[in-house]
Subunit: 204 residues, 2 copies
DNA sequence: AAATTATTCTATAGATATATAGAATCACGT
DNA sequence: ACGTGATTCTATATATCTATAGAATAATTT
């Protein structure tokens, strides 16, 4: 029986989650064997089952580990009292930073979560919805405050921001050379101002 | 020996590719068995090898099938003589339409191509690069013609458009109810104008 | 240091998958 | 209807993978 309350156990288990994240990110869930994961961690295949009751449980833990940080940070941003533009930029920064810090686990969440049983997918969907709704709320505030055109579709806008962040997140994972602050800057600029030329007006 | 020149063979093979696309899209490459694919096609597992010499060859064909249309259409758009805004909208329309028509194969290309051997991934990368470069060219034209601010980074812009299209493509695949023309409209508007309020100026 | 508990190992049962070989069936031209 | 080649089937060799059981080792407590 595992000693799930001990500190050492929890530390080793987190190590196992990180190993699983790395292997799943590289070879995909079904392309990875429990042997691969165990080897990366420096133990034998069978020993892995001291930390997970199944390969699928490992996947669930990796997915959760991947998103928990940025989903959690979103609450702080949405409930803060910054103006719209600052909140948008903070969101993008938080989201892209997660890709730097937890690249493997986040990639696994995006690409492999569909292999989880419905029950666990549901939990992840809830977190995702919560995130999207908070972002939608930020856009609604922006419209009310007059920072944004009132013709914009806040649901579409939130979805678009998430889409852009994930697309660039993917590129960031693949190419660690990319300048993340440059990307944050340009994404924000695109979302606020678009690409069109227009007669000069000061705009921060 | 397969009769690779006969019409019937080619038709059946395309059927096999579509079956593989459907199964791979649903369960992923490693999560699908050759039995699954054969069954969906209405033949027995072993018979599939009359059309593919390996499961991996099937994946390669599906990936290529998924992108060939929109990659090919891009040449027509880029070389046309429409103004910038029309080209941008045509690109988005073409890209998102592909997600409606070939949703399964396209999803497979995006999610599973990494399981191909380097040699085949290289070919797909070439097609992707060609696509991105054409789009980059459209943006460069747009800057030159004065339609776009000259401060924009065309490489970033092209990447962003592709990212947005793929993000929405994914949602389109999952939810066939979505109004694709509404999305095209809003994506174009976002890219051109951004979300900010600004003093009225006419803008098509 | 003995006893107890926690962790890892070895070995394996049982399931499932890919690819091949050779037999059986089908389609079609004559 | 016959023969020929095209297509599909059956059966299987070979490999691999998950999860478990029980032995072995390491760590900790008394």
């Amino acid at each position: 029986m595992p000693q799930i309350n001990s500190d050492r156990y929890q530390q080793q288990r987190k190590q196992a989650i990180r190993s699983a994240a790395a292997v799943f990110a590289e070879k995909g869930f079904h392309g990875s064997s429990t042997k691969d994961i165990a080897e990366r961690m420096g133990i034998k295949q069978g020993s892995l089952y001291y930390y997970f009751k199944s390969k699928e449980e490992a996947l669930g833990e990796v997915c959760l580990f991947g998103i928990e940080d940025y989903v959690h940070r979103m609450d702080g941003i949405a409930n803060g009292d910054q103006p719209f533009e600052a909140k948008l930029m903070a969101t993008i920064t938080s989201h892209l930073s997660s890709y730097r810090e937890k690249n493997e686990a986040l990639k696994v969440h995006n690409d492999e979560r569909l292999y989880l049983p419905e029950e666990k997918r549901y939990r992840l969907r809830q977190l995702g919805s919560h995130y999207r709704q908070s972002l939608e709320g930020i856009f609604e505030e922006g419209v009310k405050s007059g920072a944004l055109r009132d013709s914009i579709d806040c649901h579409f806008a939130a979805q678009a921001v998430i889409g852009i962040c994930n697309a660039w997140g993917d590129l960031i994972v693949r190419d660690p050379q990319l300048d993340i602050f440059d990307i944050i800057q340009k994404c924000t600029d695109l979302l606020l101002n678009g690409f069109c030329e227009r007669r000069k007006e000061k705009r921060t």
